[in-house]
């Protein structure tokens, strides 16, 4: 699934330059603790979060995530947007809650992996 497909499923808007289709979304992870994402997210995951701090971009890069999905209609902070563009990290915003967004992606066949 491309990031464009993902955005379509969750009424999402892709933030920044159109680099969304370069990456294949292979799984999903939802968490607002960045240390937890650093520990447990997997390569190619779409990461569902409330966080919009610039550090999210570094974490997404570190874990080679396919996209950051910011829920509840929250918009990324300007420095997050800038850093995401610079490092070609796809950011999608959605008016949906984390629960609803994860549910829609799950329905479309995106799975998470058991952590423990």
């Amino acid at each position: 699934m491309t990031v464009t497909d993902l955005a379509g499923l969750i009424e999402g808007t892709i933030v920044g330059p159109a680099l969304a289709d370069a990456r294949d979304v292979r799984g999903g992870y939802a968490s607002d603790l960045l240390s937890d994402v650093m520990a447990n997210a997997q390569d190619g995951d779409a990461w569902i979060t409330m966080q919009r701090h610039v550090n999210t971009v570094a974490v997404a890069q570190l874990k080679n995530l396919a996209a950051i999905v910011i829920v509840n209609g929250r918009q990324p902070e300007p420095d997050m947007t800038a850093r995401a563009a610079e490092h070609e990290v796809a950011v999608v915003t959605t008016p949906l809650s984390a629960f609803e967004a994860a549910g829609r992606l799950f329905e479309a066949g995106i799975r998470g992996r058991r952590v423990s």
Binding site: D32, L33, L34, M38, Q51, H53, N55, A58
Partner: protein, 419 residues
């Protein structure tokens, strides 16, 4: 926990000062300040702010006016109002413990400020921004944001009482080149004093503490520890007792022998010493010659710590020629108290008693390093030991020495990093 109770608990713990940090509010700061002024302790204005990322930041504020300004700014950035039935009453009290009113905001909520914004707001109010309990997963910056955002102008980081101070300082503060502080994060009076920070100041007052954190005018942060727990704090306590008893020489040896599974701490001084009767009484928990204590709970608690870890405490003393305290522990015993930050022990001792001839040795396995106050004074060539240069020299010597010990029996100390 009304303002006067906080001040009383701080005095009982032997503290010179406390920072009053309500969550997202500062309306108890003034009463605490008045209660403290009446009793000779310092209650410094502060606030613990929750950012929108759910990171806690401590604002250390220069005065009550600044606290009032930040209080109003935070109130405007908080969503919703308190529901006292659910979250409890948010009491504003005076120093007589009379209730003046209730804070209507939902103080347990997060502000709409990002971390960066909150640091900016704290600075605009003239305060210092400290990443609170940075080692904690929830509400600590490292857990909540993964790491400290590069370029965030923090003034200090606070290591919680859950982490050994030296481990926290090395991991979180040193890379940012800011001082590490520690504190009790007390939510009830009994917790006050469970972790303390030592400063080198002219006198105990807010402005001096701020200077120390900014490393201005020769003021500096010496270190921190957990007085009830860390052996480093016990060592400091015993050595200070010796100096109070007129000692001009204090020899301290800390020996970790992994092969023999033994930790041995020896503190020997040439102070007044004690007769046999007094010697027997000092290891009795109901005896003290002092009214307040600054660190540690004295020999009874150290004895208990040694015995809990399969060891023992020996006190030899001769009136007129000094006292020798020796505590032995099973190094790898599950209940062995953590060593804590020995750098703090040496720095606080030399900063408070620069004329004492301290001889310090730390041995681990077959490696050891030593530091003698006489050598430091000689290297300083007349400059005072309790000066920024003198203390920096001591600090660097201890750090170098400790780094050199990170050898074979490292395994024995790793469990101290996080309990």
């Amino acid at each position: 926990m009304h303002p006067a109770a906080v001040v009383q608990a701080a005095m009982a713990a032997g503290l010179d000062g406390v920072v009053i940090c309500d969550h997202n509010a500062a309306d108890n700061v003034a009463a605490a300040g008045r209660a403290a002024r009446a009793s000779g302790c310092v209650a410094m204005p502060g606030m613990e702010i929750t950012t929108e990322e759910e990171v806690h930041l401590v604002a250390l504020l220069p005065d009550e006016a600044a606290a009032g300004v930040l209080h109003a700014r935070v109130a405007a950035a908080l969503p919703g109002r308190n529901a006292p039935d659910t979250f409890g009453m948010q009491v504003i009290a005076n120093e007589q413990a009379e209730v003046l009113g209730f804070n209507p905001s939902l103080l347990s909520a997060a502000t709409s400020w990002s971390v960066d914004r909150a640091v900016g707001e704290i600075h605009r109010a003239g305060g210092l921004a400290v990443a609170a309990h940075i080692d904690r997963e929830r509400f600590g910056m490292a857990g909540q944001l993964g790491f400290v955002p590069p370029g965030l102008p923090l003034d200090a980081v606070e290591v919680s009482a859950a982490t050994a101070f030296d481990a926290g300082r090395r991991r979180y503060a040193d890379p940012l080149r800011v001082p590490a502080l520690t504190g009790s994060d007390a939510h009830s009076p009994s917790e006050i004093g469970r972790a303390v920070t030592f400063f080198h100041l002219d006198r105990a007052e807010t402005a001096e503490v701020h200077r120390a954190i900014r490393a201005e005018n020769g003021r500096t942060v010496l270190g921190g520890g957990r007085p009830m727990e860390d052996l480093a704090m016990h060592i400091l306590d015993i050595a200070q007792n010796g100096v109070e008893a007129g000692a001009t020489r204090v020899d301290i040896r800390v020996e970790e022998d992994a092969d023999a599974n033994e930790l041995r701490i020896v503190v020997a001084d040439n102070g007044r010493g004690m007769d046999a009767d007094t010697r027997n009484r000092v290891i009795d928990p109901f005896f003290t010659t002092r009214q307040t204590r600054i660190v540690g709970l004295g020999l009874p608690l150290l004895r208990q710590a040694a015995e809990a870890a399969g060891g023992h405490l020996t006190v030899n003393s001769t009136p007129g020629s000094g006292t020798r305290v020796s505590a032995v522990f099973e190094l790898g015993h599950l209940d062995r108290a953590p060593l804590g930050d020995l750098e703090t022990t040496v720095l606080v001792l030399l900063a408070s008693h620069p004329d004492v001839d301290l001889d310090w040795t730390h041995r681990r396995g077959d490696q050891e390093y030593s530091l003698s106050a006489a050598d430091v004074r000689a290297a300083l060539d007349g400059a005072p030991l309790a000066s920024p240069e003198g203390l920096a020299l001591v600090r660097n010597a201890v750090r170098l020495g400790e780094a050199g010990l990170a050898g074979p029996s490292r395994r024995a100390t790793r469990s101290e990093d996080h309990r």
